[in-house]
């Protein structure tokens, strides 16, 4: 009941006209970011941080959160209409979504994606409301060994599922942790790998790294290939037939379940829930051979899972202070820019803010449903923008976003460096997401590891003596073992369809 009263208070703040306007603007900008190829949700959210810097913290985070889940939906539009995912999580939607569009059924594909996203988003937010306080109380009882073990689970998930090759994902994860070594040591305050430059004492700017890896890196890949403007098929009627609704209901329910529970796992990334949902729908279907020819379940399940995941992934951030994806890491950076520390203390020290943002998730998801379908023709027209124009605009936003965080041209150089790194990662078939996640998590991981060893006088068995940390470490090892087994290999095989 506590949670419901607090949520009611959150609605009182979220429904204020200014905050409604921020959620509305965030949904629009997020959808735009999702639609435009070459700007994923991570870089897009980071680019708009300066815009949020001009607002009060509640309005800023409401807008950035709306940009985040708006981008998740926006990516669907290009997947269905142009066979080009606007962001990675929508890649699987291309398979049956584009097939539906080619047979004149783009409208129902977009409609079920919007409805599924709404259902998944709302259920996940209700889940957030229900588990926020109990999880926060649990997290407040965590000691350094438990936090370290939890982060190890996240790292194991990233390694097992972020790439076809566990070695390549681990390489990216370790590189991210090494980049995080630059700056002041989190326990003793010694400068490490700073080359005597004051700008590096606070560490490498996460926003600059994200903009470089996801924004500039993607631009470089696209200009190399000379990306052409896209054309889109006709949309047709947006109404679902009775049969569409019947076929999709189960897929939406299962997608919600998959997205919500995978959203609770730190470090998983947004592609896994969508591909897993697709694999489940294909396996449960009496006609799996027709997947790929325009089955509405192949759109309904993954799109629902995508938005349920996007909203549920805020649970580890709000309750434990752990980001689940690069975009959530950017959101975490935005919290900090606004003087807020995500984690268990958020609900005690900034309760009004936390519940207002949670309430705004429900308001924003409803806005997305009402807004997006009528605006599809507008989004389609944006696909015709020539890529050089888009590249210029993206670079301008990246520079503004990166510079504004520390008022430092040095950070623009950092972005440039990581743009080259992001481009090289694509050439070397290395996944980018694990690098960003470990860059964000490494300081906490190092601090909790060192604090644990201080508590035990250097004895590693402290992790095994405490039941929760021992269970979590066993889970981490289990995940790594499971990644070698056939079920996850099958998911990966499906993800390569």
């Amino acid at each position: 009941m506590d949670s419901l009263w607090l949520l009611a208070g959150g609605f009182a703040t979220a429904l204020q006209p200014a905050n409604l306007a921020f959620a509305f603007a965030g949904c629009l900008m997020g959808t735009l970011i999702g639609v435009l190829p070459g700007i994923g949700p991570a870089a897009g959210t980071a680019m708009l941080i300066p815009l949020a810097g001009a607002l009060d913290p509640t309005g800023a985070i409401i807008m950035l959160a709306a940009i985040y889940y708006g981008a998740m939906y926006g990516g669907t539009i290009t997947s269905v209409l142009a066979n080009t995912p606007g962001e990675a999580a929508s890649a699987v939607t291309c398979i049956d979504g584009y097939a539906m569009a080619r047979t004149g059924r783009a409208g129902p594909a977009l409609a079920i994606a919007a409805i599924g996203s709404f259902v998944g988003g709302i259920v996940a937010t209700i889940g957030l409301v229900l588990v926020a306080l109990p999880l926060t109380r649990l997290a407040l009882g965590f000691g350094p060994p438990e936090v370290f073990a939890l982060l190890a689970v996240g790292l194991a998930m990233v390694t097992a599922l972020a790439s076809r090759s566990a070695i390549r994902a681990l390489v990216a994860a370790v590189l991210g942790m090494l980049v995080a070594q630059v700056g002041i040591d989190p326990v003793m305050g010694t400068a490490r790998f700073t080359f005597g430059r004051g700008e590096l004492y606070e560490g490498v700017s996460i926003i600059a790294v994200v903009m470089g890896l996801f924004g500039l890196g993607e631009v470089l890949s696209n200009v190399e290939r000379r990306a052409a403007p896209m054309s889109a098929p006709a949309i047709g009627s947006l109404w679902l037939t009775r049969r569409d609704a019947r076929d999709s209901a189960g897929a939406v329910a299962r997608g919600t379940f998959i997205g919500f529970f995978l959203g609770l796992v730190p470090g998983l990334g947004s592609m896994v829930p969508t591909f897993l949902s697709y694999a489940v729908e294909k396996r449960l279907s009496p006609t799996p051979e027709r997947f790929g020819t325009g089955m509405i379940q192949g759109v309904a399940g993954p799109e629902t899972a995508n938005n349920a995941y996007a909203n549920a992934a805020l649970i580890p951030l709000f309750t434990l202070g752990i980001p689940s994806s690069p975009t959530i890491a950017v959101l975490m950076g935005a919290f900090m820019v606004n003087g807020l520390v995500p984690g268990p203390t958020l609900f005690t020290e900034h309760a009004t803010f936390a519940w207002a943002v949670i309430a705004s998730l429900i308001v924003g998801n409803a806005m997305l449903l009402v807004l997006n379908l009528p605006l599809v023709p507008l989004w389609v027209s944006l696909l015709r923008i020539p890529y050089p124009v888009l590249a210029c605009v993206v670079v301008a936003f990246c520079v503004i976003g990166v510079y504004s965080v520390n008022n430092s041209a040095f950070d623009v150089w950092v972005m440039l460096l990581f743009g080259v790194v992001g481009y090289a990662f694509r050439k070397l078939d290395l996944p980018v997401a694990p690098m960003v996640l470990t860059l964000v998590l490494a300081p906490l991981m190092e601090r909790t590891l060192r604090q644990s060893l201080e508590m035990s006088g250097g004895d590693m068995s402290i992790f095994l003596e405490r039941p929760l940390s021992a269970s979590l470490l066993a889970a981490a090892i289990g995940v790594l073992v499971l990644s070698a087994l056939s079920f996850l290999r099958a998911v990966r095989a499906d993800s390569e369809v």
Partner: protein, 156 residues
């Protein structure tokens, strides 16, 4: 580029990065009287990266390296490489010039040069987009929203 050549290059690069961080970490205290020191974590990470680099190299040297894997990304051709370099040059120019001549003039030059390098020459498109990405962006972000962007001669 073959998968074998790609992985040989990657393995060597990882070993070099591991050597750099490992060498730096050796100069830091590994353990102190209260617990692990600043060199503890980077030393283990460098070791792990070196192992991963060695594993990547070894895999690349196996007789059937790369068999069954999807083909690796192609290296860019001359024209593609030039476009990538033009983009990098434009961002480097903005980083170098924005605090000297102001964000808007630096971004204007970079936008004009980038679009020319990417093959867009229609001035009815190039000019308004460049002005919007430079002076327009400064007007919105710096003047209206109060985002601190460096201003140059004309207050932009």
């Amino acid at each position: 580029m073959t998968a074998r050549a790609r992985d040989l290059g990657l393995g060597a690069a990882l070993l070099a990065i591991a050597a750099f961080f490992g060498h730096g970490a050796l100069g830091m205290r590994y353990f102190t009287s209260i617990g692990p020191g600043p060199g503890f974590f980077p030393r283990w990470l460098a070791l792990l990266l070196a192992l991963l680099g060695a594993a990547t190299l070894l895999r690349a040297l196996l007789p059937r390296a790369g068999a069954g894997e999807p083909p690796p990304e192609e290296l860019p051709g001359a024209a593609g490489a030039l476009r990538v370099l033009a983009m990098l040059g434009a961002v480097a120019f903005v980083a170098l010039a924005m605090e000297r001549i102001g964000f808007a003039p630096a971004m204007l030059v970079a936008s004009l040069a980038t679009m020319a390098a990417l093959g867009l020459r229609d001035m009815r498109v190039v000019l308004p987009v460049s002005l919007a990405a430079s002076f327009g962006a400064h007007l919105v972000f710096a003047r209206w929203l109060g985002v601190p962007l460096p201003a140059g001669w004309l207050g932009y």
